[in-house]
């Protein structure tokens, strides 16, 4: 099934996330990622949802999203122009100076930052689009990834 990026402007109230998630789960759609945060006005939040779905059924979900009282606006960014970013924190095994140097080098080459250093690991922070995040993970994988976390995709429309 194809992937879609949808942004939803909602009232910043309790229960809204459950309503929105419910519309996807009721149809058996798995949400790949979901990021929520306040917008420029604190009573409105923006959600960015990445979902794998059947296109026709997703059309119906978007209409149902629009029907929710707490939903102000639904936009499907898929196929249009937009900028998107993800955040990655990844803890990589580094037990000797040699690997440590190599990992720092890899991080440096993509503009990632070392945000924590332990006796046997390095934690790296990266922001970028999905492609960049995935590429970094692949470069680091041979060294042994102890733990990693990705923030959901956030996106805004862009001019052509």
């Amino acid at each position: 099934m194809p992937k879609f990026v949808i942004t939803v402007l909602v009232e910043n109230k309790f229960g809204v996330l459950a309503r929105i998630a419910g519309l996807f789960s009721a149809r058996g759609f798995n949400i790949d990622s979901l990021a929520v945060g306040e917008t420029e006005s604190p009573d409105i939040s923006r959600m960015t949802i990445v979902v794998e779905a059947d296109e026709k059924i997703l059309e119906q979900v978007k209409k149902q999203l629009n029907k929710l009282i707490d939903v102000i606006k639904v936009q499907d960014l898929t196929g249009g122009e937009y900028v998107d970013r993800e955040l990655l924190l990844v803890k990589v095994k580094s037990e000797n100076t040699k690997t440590r140097e190599k990992i720092v080098q890899i991080a440096g080459s993509t503009g990632a930052e070392i945000v924590d250093m332990g006796k046997k690991y390095l934690t790296i922070e990266e922001t970028g689009d999905e492609h960049k995040i995935k590429a970094l993970i692949e470069l680091l994988r041979p060294y042994g990834i102890l733990e990693s976390v990705r923030g959901g995709k956030i996106a805004l429309t862009a001019d052509k």
């Binding site: 009232e11 229960g15 419910g22 119906q60 209409k63 629009n66 929710l68 009282i69 707490d70």
Partner: protein, 564 residues
């Protein structure tokens, strides 16, 4: 007004919304509210015998009057007992506000006694719901709840009210307006789209109007009649649309779909233009989707954008209020004729009329026909249960006015009809209210006989008693080699289980059993004259089937007929 309690704020808010009647059942977490309702002059509280009775009554009240129905229950089991009724209202777009008590705010989420997460449970079956966590929000929440319930595509709204909020005191000021950023239903139709409809009508040789419950909900019956008569376009209605267009009008084709008339279904399949108004192309209407109305351009007038192209691709959608749009279309359309089309439909009508076997046996269809004959000049509301009784009531009674047909269409809730009939009678006391029931479904909320008697809400219960769950039995007969698995209700060991006559009498109601066709008319005359609640227990042919029938998953052109 100084500070008043949450319970009082709620009651004052209900009064501000014009609520005169509520249906409910008390319990621990709603005592502060029921206490304040006790002795209240402007709002009458109807005590049902089960919360499900209360919610169906509120729903029947809403359908009969067009007003918002209100029901009240306590937390936990009281509230969960409302769930079926809320889902029923949701599927049929019926405006109700359900008020449930909730455990003390400080206990929510702690598995407290009689706690259930009602906002969570009812999220997918309400139009919207609220948990009130701050007394300052209460008046606004009630205002919004009623606004949301009755506007746009109507539906149920639940307000979950923790017991401490009912006690707390606050200033009361009922808001005059609502401010909901995400809720702005479209009422006015797009003029460009309406012009496209007019063109499509002018081009069409075989048009048909397919009218649904939206006609009733938007009070658009008059406009529909005017529109159909001017354009001479025949009208078929859905189950929910019954009464929206007079069935004694020559343009009426009755109901379409699984148990619709053969001529309505043929007309839909032959049509080159379908004008759907306030309908949602439900699977019971369309049958097999890829064969539905193969030649037709589809126009869809609906207030809910999510209904458009959900099941059937729509060529010309118009979002808005059916009444408004029909009014405007009336000025744009020309008079029509369609003589050849009407001739064709008349042939179908002659070839395959709605019919059942005429003999001396007591057949359920005959009972409905007789009720129809005897009450022609009366102000009648027909409520139904679900199953064969519902379909015969839909087929063999001639509905001529909106809000005279009350039935659970979308959810198909057995046990709906009787409490809904009570609600309808409370809302329209001058009307004669029937509940057309089966011996199965009437037992699902039979306890409401106490409500009918004690609250003095007289209704006439017609049991089409075939000793089985007739509609499922029919499917078993036709598609499961007559294996009547668990659908036989009356057995040799207990032929009258229960004896409905004695059961009626035990509540102080009248009960009459009718076993012969010759006695039907007389018994109905007694019932019509009866001032109190009466049960007529008609022992009908067990293996009578509802025909025509489109088997599930078939094209609606392929109907089974009872009389070859």
């Amino acid at each position: 007004m100084g500070k008043i309690t949450g319970a009082e704020i709620l009651i004052e808010s209900l009064k501000a919304e014009g609520v005169k009647h509520v249906f409910g059942y008390p319990g621990g977490s709603i005592i502060p509210l029921t206490d304040k309702l006790y002795g209240e002059k402007e709002i009458k509280f109807y005590l049902t015998r089960h919360e499900q009775g209360a919610v169906h009554a509120a729903d029947g009240y809403a359908r009969a009057t067009g007003k918002v129905g209100v029901c009240i229950a306590t937390s936990g089991p009281g509230a969960t007992n409302l769930v079926t009724g809320i889902a029923t209202a949701n599927m049929d777009s019926i405006p109700i506000v359900a008020i449930t008590g909730q455990v003390n705010s400080s206990l929510i989420g702690n598995d407290a006694f009689q706690e259930a997460d009602m906002v969570g449970i009812t999220r997918p079956i309400t139009k919207h719901n609220y948990l009130v966590k701050d007394i300052k929000d209460l008046a606004r929440v009630v205002k919004e709840a009623f606004h949301i319930a009755r506007t746009g595509r109507p539906g149920p709204v639940l307000i979950d009210l923790p017991v401490d909020i009912q006690f707390k005191a606050a200033e009361f000021k009922y808001p005059k307006t609502v401010a909901l950023k995400g809720y702005n239903p479209t009422f006015k139709g797009h003029i460009g789209q309406m012009k496209r409809i007019v063109k499509a009508i002018e081009k069409s040789k075989k048009p048909i109007i397919y009218a649904g419950g939206g006609i009733i909900l938007s009070e658009a019956s008059k406009q529909l009649i005017a529109f159909a008569r001017k354009t001479k376009i025949p009208v078929t209605t859905t189950l929910m649309g019954l009464g929206g267009f007079p069935e004694d009008d020559p343009l009426s084709l009755g109901m379409l779909g699984m148990h619709g008339t053969a001529y309505a279904n043929h007309a839909v399949q032959e049509a080159d233009l379908i004008i759907a108004i306030g309908a949602r192309f439900d699977d019971r209407v369309t049958g097999r989707l890829d064969t539905f109305a193969p030649h037709a351009t589809v126009v869809h007038i609906d207030i809910d954008p999510a209904s458009v192209s959900k099941n059937v691709h729509v060529d010309i959608p118009v979002i808005g209020d059916a009444k408004q749009i029909l009014k405007e279309l009336q000025n744009l359309i020309k008079e029509g004729k369609h003589a050849a089309w009407h001739k064709k439909i008349a042939e179908w009508r002659k070839e395959t009329p709605l019919a059942y076997k005429q003999d001396n046996k007591l057949r359920p269809q005959y009972v409905i026909e007789e009720i129809c004959k005897l009450t022609k000049t009366e102000d009648v509301i027909i409520s139904t249960e679900v199953g064969q009784n519902q379909m015969w009531a839909a087929q063999y009674y001639t509905y001529t006015k909106p809000r005279t047909w009350i039935s659970s269409g979308g959810l198909g809730t057995m046990g709906y009809g009787f409490p809904a009939a009570l609600g309808a009678k409370v809302g329209r006391p001058e009307a004669m209210v029937f509940d057309i029931a089966g011996d199965g479904s009437i037992q699902m909320n039979i306890q409401e006989l106490a409500t009918a008697m004690i609250e003095k809400i007289p209704v006439k219960i017609i049991i089409l008693n075939n000793g089985c769950l007739g509609m499922v039995r029919q499917w078993q007969e036709l598609f499961y080699d007559k294996r009547y698995a668990f659908t036989t209700l009356a057995k040799k060991s207990c032929t009258k289980c229960p004896d409905f006559v004695k059961l009626a009498e035990s509540y102080g109601a009248k009960g009459v059993r009718i076993t012969k066709k010759a006695d039907v008319k007389k018994a109905l005359e007694v019932a019509i004259k009866e001032k109190g609640t009466i049960i007529l227990d008609f022992i009908v042919e067990r293996e009578e089937n509802v025909f025509p029938m489109v088997p599930a998953g078939e094209s609606i052109g392929n109907m089974l007929h009872g009389l070859a």
